[in-house]
Amino acid sequence: MPHSKEGIAPLKPCPEELVKALQNFIKCFTLQRPQELHYYCRETREERKAGKATERPIDVYALQDSLNSYLKGELPEAELVFAGVHIARVYRRSGRLKIIPMLGLAQLLRVYTGITNGYVKVAEKGEQLFLYGRDVLPESILELKGGEECSIVVVLNRHGEPLGWGRIVRRANSIYIQNLIDAGWYLRSGV
């Protein structure tokens, strides 16, 4: 199994429990199952308290089938920084796996399955604000489909392109979409 140096955890095939949780999560957004993809996991350096224990969340990467053989041992003595696309970070809470989607998961859905449920489409003004890290206000919502099962929705622009992820927040007479992560984050993060 390839290993990484300098204290970076190795990239390993994700455990079945996590893959199932991920596939169930993906069902919130599409009926199709992504083909030709494998999922690899790496423990992060971040530590967090989970009751009396300390846990390390797990970063999940999705990679093309053809790349899978490399990670099964064809690349020895290598510090693997990443493989495929970073699609999620997973925490364990009260014994259950909690999935935080990353922008890569939105791209995965777009390229491999299409997004047919669990989305909100926003108008141009809403798109601008969302990409600057703001929430989506009710007047910018063009269409909202699903979102009840997972409470997280893919935020799409009027062309159907993913802008990021949001959470539905219900008020007395309206709803708005709380910004969880948006595609403008990369520019703001400076990386």
């Binding site: 990353m102 777009r110 990386v191």
Partner: protein, 346 residues
């Protein structure tokens, strides 16, 4: 058995270069100093000017330097054809006040003629519909002809502009991106996500150790270089001394040596730089051909450019480097760039 250039060969090459380039400077010194003065905004080193005087005739040289001076190299973008089409993207950008024209050589390239907004700040960039890439730089990957299912190494991947281009050409290839700089590989990770490239794995290591990793059917070596092809930018304008040239050549020889050793039979090695210096292109390729008789140079399957230089400063240059391709601002409207396609016969 593969023959590789030894440390002795690298040292010999550097010694030869030092001797020849020192003589060259003495040959052209007076004209070089006048050139430096005439084009002082380009911040040429007199040694650098003497090399240019040896490379091309004076009239053409001044035309080229004028082109660099007027910053006559446009910005360009590469359309991510995995997520959109050139026509759809062009229409959207034009609606946002960007004036575009088609890249003369690449069907998924667009030249930015004029824009109201920084081209890296538009939503379409954030959503991965395009990425910013120089017009000649965009030619290196098509010259490699990436194949699906192939094992492909990008030896000095940086933030992955060309790595993601390889993925765009061959979404089922097995791509290994290599760089010593972790921060650049983190940027590559973000670019892979933004551009939906699911077949890249990134390894942090010195690319001179490539043979320890694996053999590869195709290798891209877009080598660290002096960047003389970027004289149209303010960052590209700094005086390149003899020592600057020699230090780049040393690294390029070591990288090419590693690439030659890691290349599988019938494999393709695409060597490219953003410099017009003969020392960093035809000369280093000639040394690698000399040390590896099973390697040869092929014509790259890309349009434009002019042939590689085979007669320069009395250096022994392999005649096959004529099949390298040079791009200049005054002949192609691009940044200065050089591409050599090297193959290993089976």
């Amino acid at each position: 058995m593969k023959t590789i250039a030894s440390k002795t060969t690298v040292d010999q090459a550097l010694k030869e270069l030092r001797d020849r380039l020192t003589s060259l400077y003495h040959k052209h010194r007076l004209r070089a100093e006048k050139l430096v003065e005439r084009f002082k905004e380009l911040r040429l080193h007199p040694h650098q000017a003497s090399r240019y005087l040896e490379m091309m005739d004076y009239k053409e040289l001044t035309v080229m330097l004028e082109k660099f001076l007027e910053e006559g190299v446009p910005k360009s973008i590469r359309v991510n054809t995995r997520l959109t089409t050139v026509e759809k993207l062009a229409k959207r950008l034009e609606e946002k006040g960007v004036t575009l024209k088609r890249h003369p050589y690449i069907d998924y390239g667009l030249i930015i003629v004029e824009t109201r907004h920084p081209i890296g700040a538009l939503h379409e960039y954030m959503l991965g519909l395009y990425t910013i890439q120089g017009p000649a730089s965009m030619l290196a990957v098509p010259a490699l002809q990436p194949r699906n299912r192939a094992r492909i190494a990008d030896m000095c991947a940086g933030a992955g502009v060309k790595t993601t281009q390889i993925s765009q050409h061959a979404p089922s290839a097995r791509i290994v991106a290599i760089d010593v700089n972790r921060r650049k590989l983190i940027a590559l990770k973000n670019n892979a996500s933004r551009l939906a490239a699911f077949n890249i794995t990134a390894v942090r290591m010195d690319a001179r150790n490539l043979p320890k990793l694996s053999t590869f059917n195709q290798i891209l070596l877009d080598a660290p270089c002096s960047g003389e092809g970027l004289l149209h930018t303010s960052k590209g304008r700094w005086p390149r001394s003899l020592e600057d040239t020699l230090s780049r050549v040393k690294l390029q020889l070591e990288l090419l040596t590693a690439a030659a050793q890691a290349l599988a039979d019938n494999g393709v090695l695409l060597y490219s730089t953003c410099t017009i210096s003969v020392e960093e292109n035809e000369y280093v390729v000639s040394r690698i051909l000399e040390a590896n008789p099973e390697l040869t140079v092929e014509n790259p399957p890309i349009p434009g450019g002019t042939p590689g230089i085979t007669d320069y400063a009395g250096l022994k240059l392999d005649p096959r480097v004529k099949m390298c391709r040079r791009y200049y601002p005054h002949t192609d409207g691009t940044e200065g760039f050089t591409i050599c396609r090297i193959v290993r016969r089976g």
